[in-house]
C-alpha cells in the first residue's frame, strides 16, 4: 500500500505479515524513517536475502515449533543432534595443520595437543592432494608448501609418531586420493597394534565439491564417486568409528558462493552419495550414520546460524521421508565448521582475530560439533605457531568464558532467526529442484551449472566491494598502514628430506609385494570391485601414492573441466 511506503525515504517494505506489524509500520516506523532516513536503501544478508526492519510473532504465523524445531537430540534436529548440547561435551576443537615434512607437522600436532586441542586435522600439500609423489616433476616448487607431503606409509608413520590412533581422532583433508591416504593411516595404526574398530577419524573424501568448487579432482565424476561409495561400503564394517565422508560446503563458499548456495549444493552432494550407496544395494542405515558434514562460518552472523540449523532440518527430513532411513544416527547431520578464510584480509591482519571470534561464536550458536578457527595471518601465508595458538585460544574463550554453552540452542525462537532458517530451507529446496531437473549433481557438474552459479555470485560480491556497497574494514574503508607481520617460512630442505625417504622406501620394500598389490588395485578398478582391500594391500606393501593413482589414472582416465569465465 502506498501510504505505508512514503516516497523518497527508502523505507524497506517486505509486506506486512499481519495487522500488528502493519500498525507499527504506519504509526511509528514509517514517520521516523520519512524524517530521518536509514543508512541503506535496502538491507539484506550476505546471501541477498532481504531483511525487514523488524521481525515479530506475526512473521512466524505458520511456524509450528513442534514440527520446525522439535527438541534437541530429536527429529528434525534443528536444535542440535545432542540432547544436552554443549552441556555434556563441548565441540571438538580441531585445528587444521600441515606444512613441510611429516617431521615438522608432527611437531605442530604435538604442540596443538599440548595446548588443549582435542582432535587433529591434517592439511596435505598439493602434490599429495593431486596424487603425485614428492619426486614427480609436477611436484616441483610445491612440496610441503600448503600442507604436509605424504607419499607413502613411511611418511604417515613419521607424521603420527608418538600420537595414539586409538585415543586421538584425526581428520584428513584429502579427496581424490582419499582411499589411498586413509589406507596408509589405517596401515600405520595396524602396525602399531591398534584395533581398527577403535580407530576414529574423518576423511574428507568429498569429490563432488572438488568438481564444484576447489577443483582438486583427478578422475572423471563417475569413477570418482564410485571410489567414495567404496568407502561408504567398506568403512562401517572395518573401521566403524570412522567418518567415511565429510560432505563439504566450506570450499563451495570459499569459491564465492552465497550461504544459500553453500547449503543447497552441499546437501545435494550428500544426497547424491546416499542415492549412489542405495544404488549399490547398501542399506542406507549401514552407511549414513558415518557420513558427516563440513560448513563455512562467514561474517553474516544470523545467516550462518540459520544455515547450520536449516542444514540439520533438511537432512533429517530428506533422509527419513525420501530415503527411508530409520536409524536416528542416519538422520543426524553432524558437522565440522571452519571460520571463513576468504573473509580474512592481508590489510591490518590483526583485525582478522575479531572476525574469527565472531564467526566462531556463530558456529557454536549454530550447534557445530567441531570447529577450526582461522589464524589471523592466513591471508599472508600458512599460520605461524603463535597465530594458530591464538586461534585455538579464541575457541577456548567462547567455550569457557561467554556462557553461551550453558543451555542448548539458546537462540531458538528468535523471530528473525527462525524466519531466516525457514527462508534458507525454502531457497535450498528451489536449488534441489533445479539440480534434479538437470539430471542430478553429476550432470550439473558436467554442464557447468555450479561453476556458473558460483562465478556469478563471487563476481557480484567483488563488484559490491569495489563499489563500497559492501564494506570490508581495512580494505575499502577504515584503511591504515599496518606493520609487516612475521610469516611462517617452509624449510627449503623439505624436498631433500622427502626425496631421500621415497628413495629409501622404493629400495627397501619387497618389490614383488608392491607389484602384486598394484596389480590387485588395477583388477579391482577394472572389474568394478570395492577398491579398499586393494588400497590396504598397497599401503602395507609401501606402494607410493603416485604409483597407486597412476594405476587409477590409466583405468579411469583424467578429468578436465571446460574453461569458463
Amino acid at each position: 500500500m502506498d501510504e505505508r511506503k512514503p516516497a523518497g525515504t527508502g523505507a524497506q517494505d517486505l509486506g506486512a505479515p499481519g495487522p500488528r506489524y502493519e500498525r507499527w509500520w504506519r504509526d511509528t516506523y514509517a514517520p521516523l524513517v520519512r524524517d530521518r532516513g536509514e543508512r541503506e536503501a535496502l538491507f539484506r544478508t550476505l546471501s541477498d536475502i532481504e531483511v525487514a526492519p523488524l521481525y515479530t510473532h506475526e512473521h512466524l504465523s505458520d511456524f509450528d515449533p513442534e514440527t520446525q524445531l522439535g527438541y534437541p537430540g530429536e527429529f528434525p534436529y534443528t536444535r542440535g543432534v545432542h540432547a544436552s548440547g554443549y552441556r555434556g561435551k563441548l565441540w571438538t576443537m580441531r585445528m587444521f595443520a600441515g606444512f613441510g615434512t611429516p617431521e615438522e607437522t608432527n611437531g605442530r600436532f604435538k604442540a596443538l595437543l599440548d595446548a588443549g586441542q582435542t582432535g587433529l586435522s591434517t592439511a596435505f600439500d598439493l602434490p599429495t592432494l593431486m596424487g603425485y609423489d614428492s619426486d614427480h616433476p609436477f611436484a616441483r616448487g610445491e612440496v610441503g608448501k600448503c600442507g604436509v607431503a605424504v607419499s607413502s606409509l613411511a611418511d604417515m608413520e613419521v607424521l603420527f609418531d608418538g600420537i595414539d590412533p586409538e585415543t586421538v581422532t584425526t581428520s584428513m583433508t584429502i579427496n581424490s586420493p582419499a582411499n589411498a591416504i586413509w589406507a596408509m593411516y589405517l596401515a600405520m595404526a595396524q602396525r602399531r597394534g591398534a584395533d581398527l574398530r577403535k580407530v576414529g577419524g574423518t576423511t574428507q573424501n568429498d569429490i563432488l565439491k572438488e568438481f564444484i568448487a576447489q577443483k582438486e579432482y583427478i578422475f572423471p565424476p563417475a569413477p570418482s564417486v564410485k571410489l567414495v561409495v567404496d568407502t561408504l561400503e567398506w568403512g562401517p564394517k572395518e573401521v566403524p568409528r570412522w567418518n567415511t565422508v565429510s560432505v563439504s560446503g566450506y570450499h563451495i563458499r570459499e569459491a564465492g558462493s552465497t550461504a544459500v548456495q553453500e547449503l543447497a549444493f552441499t546437501l545435494a552432494d550428500g544426497i547424491h552419495y546416499v542415492r549412489k550407496g542405495i544404488e549399490r544395494g547398501l542399506d542406507v542405515d549401514t552407511f549414513a550414520p558415518r557420513m558427516s558434514f563440513f560448513f563455512n562460518v562467514h561474517n553474516d552472523f544470523f545467516e550462518e546460524i540459520a544455515k547450520l540449523r536449516a542444514a540439520r532440518r533438511i537432512w533429517a527430513r530428506e533422509m527419513r521421508d525420501v530415503y527411508g532411513a530409520r536409524d536416528p544416527r542416519s538422520l543426524m547431520l553432524r558437522t565440522h565448521a571452519q571460520t571463513a578464510g576468504v573473509s580474512l584480509t592481508a590489510q591490518q591482519p590483526l583485525v582478522n582475530m575479531s572476525r574469527v571470534a565472531i564467526q566462531a561464536l556463530a558456529g557454536v550458536l549454530g550447534g557445530t560439533n567441531s570447529l577450526h578457527t582461522d589464524a589471523y595471518d592466513e591471508a599472508l601465508s600458512l599460520p605461524t605457531e603463535e597465530a594458530a595458538l591464538l586461534a585455538l585460544r579464541t575457541q577456548q574463550v567462547v567455550a569457557y568464558e561467554t556462557g553461551v554453552t550453558n543451555t542448548v540452542d539458546p537462540l531458538a525462537g528468535s523471530y528473525y532467526l527462525e524466519h531466516l532458517t525457514d527462508e534458507m530451507e525454502r531457497q535450498a529446496r528451489v536449488y534441489f529442484e533445479q539440480i534434479d531437473a538437470q539430471g542430478g549433481v553429476e550432470a550439473a557438474i558436467e554442464s557447468g551449472f555450479f561453476a556458473h552459479e558460483i562465478g556469478d555470485a563471487s563476481y557480484q560480491q567483488q563488484r559490491e566491494t569495489d563499489a563500497k556497497t559492501r564494506i570490508t574494514v581495512g580494505v575499502n574503508a577504515f584503511r591504515t598502514e599496518s606493520a609487516q607481520m612475521p610469516v611462517l617460512l617452509v624449510d627449503p630442505q623439505v624436498v631433500d628430506v622427502q626425496l631421500r625417504r621415497i628413495e629409501r622406501v622404493r629400495a627397501g620394500r619387497d618389490p614383488a609385494a608392491a607389484r602384486d598389490a598394484l596389480a590387485l588395485l588395477r583388477s579391482a578398478a577394472v572389474d568394478g570391485l570395492n577398491t579398499m582391500p586393494a588400497f590396504m594391500a598397497c599401503a602395507h606393501a609401501f606402494c607410493t601414492l603416485g604409483e597407486q593413482m597412476d594405476v587409477l589414472r590409466e583405468v579411469y582416465g583424467v578429468y578436465e573441466e571446460s574453461v569458463q569465465v
Binding site: 598439493l126 602434490p127 592432494l129 593431486m130 603425485y132 609436477f138 611436484a139 616441483r140 616448487g141 610445491e142 608448501k145 600448503c146 572438488e210 576447489q214 577443483k215 582438486e216 579432482y217 570459499e254 569459491a255 564465492g256 576468504v342 580474512l344 584480509t345 592481508a346 590489510q347 592466513e378 591471508a379 599472508l380 601465508s381 600458512l382 562465478g455 563471487s458 563476481y459 567483488q462 563488484r463 566491494t465 569495489d466 570490508t472 581495512g474 580494505v475 575499502n476 609487516q484 607481520m485 610469516v487 617460512l489 617452509v490 578436465e560 573441466e561 574453461v563 569465465v565
Partner: protein
C-alpha cells in the same frame, strides 16, 4: 599501436585449483574493455609462456595461492626472457607475504596484488602501465 585494447593473459600455474581470484580478475578486466585470455587450471610455465607469445599479450597475470609463487614466477619470467618476450608485463596476485616482494621484483615481477585488492586498482594499474611500456617499446 597504443590504441588497440590491452591484451592480458590470466594464468593459474601449478596444481592448485583455487580459481576464484583468477576468474574474478579475468571478468573485471574484460568488463573494463580489455581482451582477456584465461588459461584454466594446472598450467606449466611452458604452457603459460606459449600462450602469452601466441596470443601476443601485453601482460601476464599469475594467480598463486599455494605458497609456490617464487617457483612459478621465476620459471615464467625466465621463459619469457628466453622467448624474447620480456617486454610482456608480468604481474600477479594471491597469498604472497610482503617478505617475498623484493625477491619477486628482482625476478622482474612488476606488481603483486594481495587479498583485498579492488579490481579497479588492477584495471587502473594496467591502463597506466601497459601504454607506457608500449611507447617505450616502439621508441626503443
Amino acid at each position: 599501436m597504443s590504441d588497440h585494447p590491452i591484451r592480458v593473459l590470466i594464468a593459474k600455474p601449478g596444481l592448485d585449483g583455487h580459481d576464484r581470484g583468477a576468474k574474478v580478475i579475468a571478468r573485471a578486466l574484460r568488463d573494463a574493455g580489455m581482451e582477456v585470455v584465461y588459461t584454466g587450471l594446472r598450467q606449466t610455465a611452458e604452457m603459460i609462456v606459449n600462450a602469452a607469445v601466441q596470443e601476443d599479450v601485453d601482460a601476464v597475470g599469475l594467480s598463486v595461492l599455494s605458497g609456490a609463487h617464487m617457483h612459478y614466477f621465476r620459471e615464467v619470467s625466465e621463459l619469457l626472457r628466453q622467448r624474447g618476450a620480456d617486454d610482456v608485463l608480468l604481474f600477479g596476485g594471491g597469498i604472497v607475504p610482503d617478505q617475498d616482494l623484493p625477491a619477486l621484483r628482482e625476478l622482474g615481477v612488476a606488481r603483486v596484488f594481495t587479498p583485498g585488492t579492488s579490481t579497479q586498482d588492477v584495471v587502473a594499474y594496467l591502463r597506466e602501465t601497459v601504454p607506457t611500456r608500449r611507447r617505450a617499446e616502439s621508441e626503443g
